[in-house]
């Protein structure tokens, strides 16, 4: 059977990474921005898994690392959401441009 070469997968992950970054740079809604970051993290996950599967199939470092990333991403998301909620309380908005009080 012919399987997908590593480069394809890497291309996918990189694309995903930059899509995420693009989202982070352009979106104004904090939740959306958070989601874009999750995209970036996931692209990293794909990297790890792919490397592990293709290059070093005998050890499981990559897989474990991706597991931990998922976990921590969850934690991060939880805290971030909490903060965003609090921000909404004080600013009555979750638009990132409304939270630019401190500058210069």
């Amino acid at each position: 059977m012919n399987e997908v070469p590593l480069t394809h997968i890497l291309f996918l992950s990189t694309a995903l990474f930059f899509i995420g970054m693009y989202g982070l740079f352009t979106r104004r809604n904090l939740i959306t921005m958070l989601m874009s970051i999750e995209l970036m993290l996931n692209s990293v996950n794909i990297n790890f898994v792919a490397f592990n599967k293709y290059l070093f199939p005998d050890k499981l470092d990559g897989l474990f690392f991706s597991l931990f990333i998922i976990t921590i991403a969850a934690a991060e998301a939880a805290v971030a959401i909490a903060i965003i909620i609090n921000l909404y309380r004080s600013h009555q908005s979750i638009d990132v441009d409304d939270a630019t009080e401190m500058k210069f």
Partner: protein, 469 residues
């Protein structure tokens, strides 16, 4: 084996114990804040003491967690900083409802740092890093009511998430090119092929974000300004120090094969950092913001020291961090007292401060002189030794640049002194009665500032422990 775990992990275990005790306090019956604070401070003293006594060297979890005398020393410094911070935020926490949570967050973050420092593996390092970052983001938002506080927290969590994304990308590339995550093995595979260089740079930028080196520093000032003073102090001293320790050890241990490259990177970073830090610090009026930028400039000097990549390099780093703990925390101590009791955080509010609060003024003055590097304070030695370590590379352009920037930094430190001593002000900050424990903390800082410099044995001790390339 089993017993050795308790020895090697003792600082981490102690900290976890503290965390549990806090939880029990939380769920237990109501106590007065004072009593809780005193208890916690005592516990912190114990924690510090227990850390200091007894050496331990070795690795566990097959090399995921390694420790040695030097690392223990670094952790002790962090413990000390933690203790000082908690002593100084007494006035602020005395009538704060969630002080237990506050300590929970900080302790957790500290625990994360400990693991990060003694990590022998990229995975462990990542875990430690996140474990130290996420609670901080939460605690940055600790003044729930304040608009600025929540804004700061938002900025911190988003940027740090982004940076960890970048960092992870780097790690994944490293893994991809070497097939391993443990530092010892990694070194063998490191070479300067573009892929690895790219990975390395991604990694470095992750670090640079944490130590807020230019151009990865932009979050710093805002977060410092927004978050409560205690948290700011923790950010600017403890977390920065921890990351610096880790950064140095990784550079020296893992990336030795491409030392020339990261020397270049460090030089570039230090130049930009010092310059931008100084230029921004020149025109700040908010004290926390001012300290943020000045600390950015300090990091630039630290990077010069690290770039020495010698035993003296890492020694001068730890030495400077120790001094930095004393001087910066003394400064933050004064600021936190003033902001807690008088609610003022601007430099212009400090005009005529000496008339009403001579003690605090002297503390702040000495702290600032130490940050500026004026003898006989320890800051003088710290900065000089950093630059001496850097000068070992015969890169005198860098030294001249740094030396001249020291003059610029003098200007803004002296400006604060001028405000306190020389400027007239019809309505200065009224006389503040500083809590005894905070005063004690300040005295400790003063003693530290004087002794650490003049008593050479401190440096010699650090030097004897430290490892170069």
């Amino acid at each position: 084996m089993s017993s050795s775990i308790f020895i090697l992990l003792r600082q981490e275990l102690l900290l976890s114990l503290l965390i549990f005790i806090l939880l029990f306090i939380k769920i237990g019956k109501e106590r007065s804040n004072e009593s809780i604070l005193n208890l916690i401070n005592i516990l912190l003293v114990v924690n510090l003491a227990a850390g200091i006594f007894g050496m331990s060297e070795g690795g566990i979890f097959n090399g995921m967690f390694t420790t040695n005398a030097f690392i223990v020393l670094e952790k002790n410094i962090l413990n000390l900083a933690m203790l000082l911070i908690s002593m100084q935020s007494y006035a602020w926490l005395k009538n704060h409802k969630q002080l237990a949570e506050f300590y929970l967050l900080l302790f957790t973050s500290l625990l994360g740092m400990f693991f990060m420092i003694s990590s022998g593996n990229l995975l462990m390092f990542y875990l430690g890093l996140e474990m130290s970052t996420i609670p901080l983001a939460a605690s940055a938002n600790f003044d729930l009511a304040k608009r600025k506080s929540s804004e700061a927290a938002m900025k911190l969590i988003l940027s740090s998430a982004f940076s960890s994304g970048i960092l992870l990308m780097g790690i994944s590339f490293l893994y991809g090119t070497t097939g391993t995550l443990s530092f010892d093995v990694l070194t063998a595979y490191i070479s300067n092929n573009p892929m690895q260089l790219f990975a390395f740079i991604l990694l470095v930028s992750g670090f640079a974000f944490k130590i807020s080196a230019v151009p990865f520093h932009l979050w710093t000032a805002d977060v410092y300004e927004g978050s409560p003073v205690a948290v700011t102090a923790f950010l600017s001293v403890v977390s920065k120090a921890a990351v610096l320790f880790t950064f140095t050890s990784i550079l020296y241990k893992v990336f030795t094969p491409i030392a020339t490259v990261w020397y270049g990177v460090l030089v570039v970073l230090s130049i930009t950092t010092i310059l931008i830090g100084n230029l921004f610090a020149l025109r700040q009026d908010n004290f926390k913001r001012f300290l943020a930028f000045s600390s950015i400039a300090q990091v630039g000097f630290i990077l010069i020291g690290i770039s020495g990549s010698s035993q003296a390099g890492s020694a001068s780093l730890v030495y400077f961090v120790l001094i930095y703990v004393f001087s910066n925390l003394a400064a933050f101590g004064v600021v936190s007292v003033v902001s807690a009791l008088a609610g003022k955080e601007n430099i212009s509010d400090f005009k005529g401060f000496y008339k009403t609060n001579p003690f605090l003024s002297w503390v702040l003055t000495i702290a600032l002189f130490s940050l500026a590097g004026v003898p006989p304070t320890a800051g003088f030695f710290g900065k000089l030794f950093l630059m001496m370590a850097g000068a070992a590379k015969d890169n005198y352009g860098l030294i001249i640049f740094a030396a001249l920037n020291m003059v610029v930094s003098f200007y803004y430190y002296l400006k604060v002194v001028k405000a306190m001593f020389m400027d007239e002000n019809e309505a200065p900050i009224q006389k503040l009665n500083v809590p005894g424990i905070t005063k004690l903390a300040m005295y400790i800082c003063m003693a530290g500032i004087i002794i650490t410099g003049l008593a050479s044995l401190v440096y010699d001790y650090i030097y004897s422990l430290s490892i170069g390339i």
